[in-house]
Symmetry: none
Subunit: 410 residues, 2 copies
């Protein structure tokens, strides 16, 4: 693609003992958005030899290397030493920088020890990056051939403003890259891949595709040189996977459903059994959802299905709680009780136990009720308890979105 | 330490475009627990050359390399090819393995295409690892000198059981390390750190501490050489942070509350407003929760608070929905309606809008009702909408747990 190659290097043993890494998602997204091809990220322990090897390899193969962590004052902050060894450059002590660090500590009311002097050791030829949120300065080094190596402090709150304000503006950017994300529901990753087939397998010059999947959702990411190219690709995506496409970019099923309900002027109520609140939790994660969401019933026990959504004893006795009839009564009942325009219901067997031959784990019935009528649909979802619940909530959001959108006058 | 060196290699361009990596925290923790020194993790793009270089370097310097991702059927699943190139080994097609994959797909009711054949390509000398959650088999290769290279599928739900059941038992372990995790609620990370002070700052030989925090929860991880050392440390932890300690190891607030309700023989109902189903979703994520959880009301709109938990119009008019009186009526109302032993309610302002000087964003009232009486508590939570909701749900679970546990006869 001609995008300059970038790499991320994190230093910190804790990141190799179970601590989640928030730096790589942030830095990789920011660097990709700025036109870099982020081809690798590495995390190494607090060891001078590990740091040295990783810096040497990364700076030999990438135009930009962003390293974070290991710049503090303690004995296990070894990024300065490791980098000096990798590049064969000296470290020099800067008394003026140390005085600035001392003043900073004094303002923060922190007592310091002499090992803080290590924070004032700077790589030969490096530009010092000021740290307005903490004590450890960063360093930016332009290597022969124009490659750039950046050392940033480990705490996220210090690293991210330094990166935004003092690093990004100094990087020579790559050719412009436009990105778009399409989001699908109701189709498996492998089926989406098969249908997209030639489009994603022979994407043509300057175009890059990635397919991502999580339970109940598939995303197609595309990078291209111009918006016109993306528009052309989008038309092909719509032709191929139109019925499953529900949104772009940062859209979610719940945000799209919220927008559709708002446009339609509808209110929504829900009766959830096996999803246990997950549908509602996703609806209400959208700020302002109180404009269209009335709430509903956590209809977990049969007695609650009866009390809050007027499921009849006869239906429960004849068909059981996991049945199309029960789903319809739940959707109609909660809509009538709360006076909403749309009623949604979810009842099924999330597992791991409770399944039978006739009604296996993963069997879920959805109900949808409007003044025009009440409907049910049957699904058999794969996966464990969490996946069945997640897929069921997504399917309910998707069906409710399709129905609401169909009622919007164009 | 003499611990054998391990490395993790993740394959997936999406992990270099902003997607969080859940595999490294999990695998690094499990490998550390098993006595390995996890010295590095790498993430590379879906590129055969990147995979080849990373596998070659990692398998040359580490006793164990665990790679995940890139084993699927699609065009950008290139781990098999990259590894073959790195090690100079052939890939061979295994018809019997392909037939097994086909049978699996058929059972799942999925239509497949011929590109699935790629999943049946196996590295020369590799042991095939069965995938009971999906289609892509894993591969385990013992290299000359006893080094081990493992290829695992990318989806977490397929990777983790394969790792636990088929990889860990086959690895030659390092010296024993005992680990324990204590879980706290209701105290900030910085306050916990300050109170633990000398214990974690001068841990003594062979002891290692890590504090992890997420909204509404703090974890203290400890590694030591013997269980006796951990017991001694646990006594000090209990003395210092006893009131905030709710569990150990894999305990969660919802699993502990479920156990306490079961022991007490109590049933639970909930009326949720600002958390919108999150409390219930966490309760019902525990298999078997239908034994004690009746469900409740998604009391989002005021009309729903009235319809499903009998909040009086007078209370709403005089005090508003975010008030101690409303919280008490919700808890009492939903308990009475559904006939549960315990009623829990959550009402508050999750933001970003809706706050005022008198009732700012983050203000949450919890209600708790039993036959003995009904109580409310006021909280002011920090953070954005998601964090306020998460902290509120955790606080409600924690309070309900403490009350239920207090009623258990010893």
């Amino acid at each position: 693609m001609g995008a300059p190659r970038a790499e991320i290097l994190c230093v910190g043993t804790e990141l190799l003992r179970g601590k989640p890494n928030t730096h790589v998602p942030y830095l990789s997204k920011r660097l990709s958005d700025a036109g870099f091809d982020v081809a690798r990220s590495q995390t190494v322990a607090d060891s001078e030899a590990e740091i040295r090897d990783a810096v040497a390899a990364a700076s030999a193969r990438s135009a930009v290397v962003v390293a974070c962590g290991g710049l503090g004052p303690t004995f296990d902050d070894l990024t300065r030493e490791g980098t000096a060894a990798a590049l064969g450059r000296r470290l020099s002590y800067r008394p003026a920088l140390y005085r600035a660090i001392l003043r900073k500590y004094r303002r923060l009311g922190v007592r310091i020890s002499s090992n803080n002097k290590r924070q004032a050791w700077v790589l030969e030829g490096a530009r010092v990056l000021l740290n307005r949120e903490g004590s450890a300065p960063g360093q930016l080094l332009v290597l022969p051939g124009g490659r750039t190596l950046v050392l940033l402090p480990g705490p996220f709150s210090e690293m991210s403003p330094m990166f935004e304000e003092q690093v990004l503006p100094r990087l020579r950017r790559g050719p412009q890259v436009r990105r778009r994300v399409w989001r699908f529901c109701g189709i498996a990753e492998s089926a989406a891949d098969r249908r997209l087939g030639p489009l994603v397998r022979r994407p043509g010059p300057g175009v890059e595709f990635t397919i991502l999947a999580s339970p109940g959702a598939v995303e197609l990411h595309c990078a291209a040189r111009t918006d016109a190219m993306l528009d052309r690709i989008e038309r092909r995506v719509r032709r191929t996977l139109g019925p499953f496409l529900y949104g772009r970019g940062g859209d979610t099923l719940e945000s799209k459903l919220g927008k559709a309900l708002r446009r339609r002027g509808w209110t929504l109520a829900v009766a959830e059994s096996c999803t246990g609140g997950l549908f509602s939790e996703r609806i209400t994660s959208v700020p302002g959802s109180s404009d269209y969401f009335l709430g509903g019933a956590l209809a977990y026990a049969d007695s609650t299905k009866r009390a809050f959504s007027d499921v009849s004893a006869g239906t429960l006795a004849r068909h059981g709680a996991v049945s199309p009839a029960c789903a319809r009564e739940m959707a109609r009942g909660v809509r009538a009780r709360l006076g909403s325009d749309l009623g949604v219901s979810i009842t099924g067997i999330a597992g791991p136990s409770g399944g039978s031959r006739a009604k296996p784990v993963g069997l879920v019935f959805l109900g949808l009720s409007t003044r025009q009528g009440t409907f049910s649909r049957r699904f058999l979802f794969r996966g464990d308890r969490a996946q069945v619940r997640s897929r069921a909530a997504s399917a309910a959001l998707h069906w409710a979105l399709k129905l609401t959108a169909a009622f919007i006058k164009r």
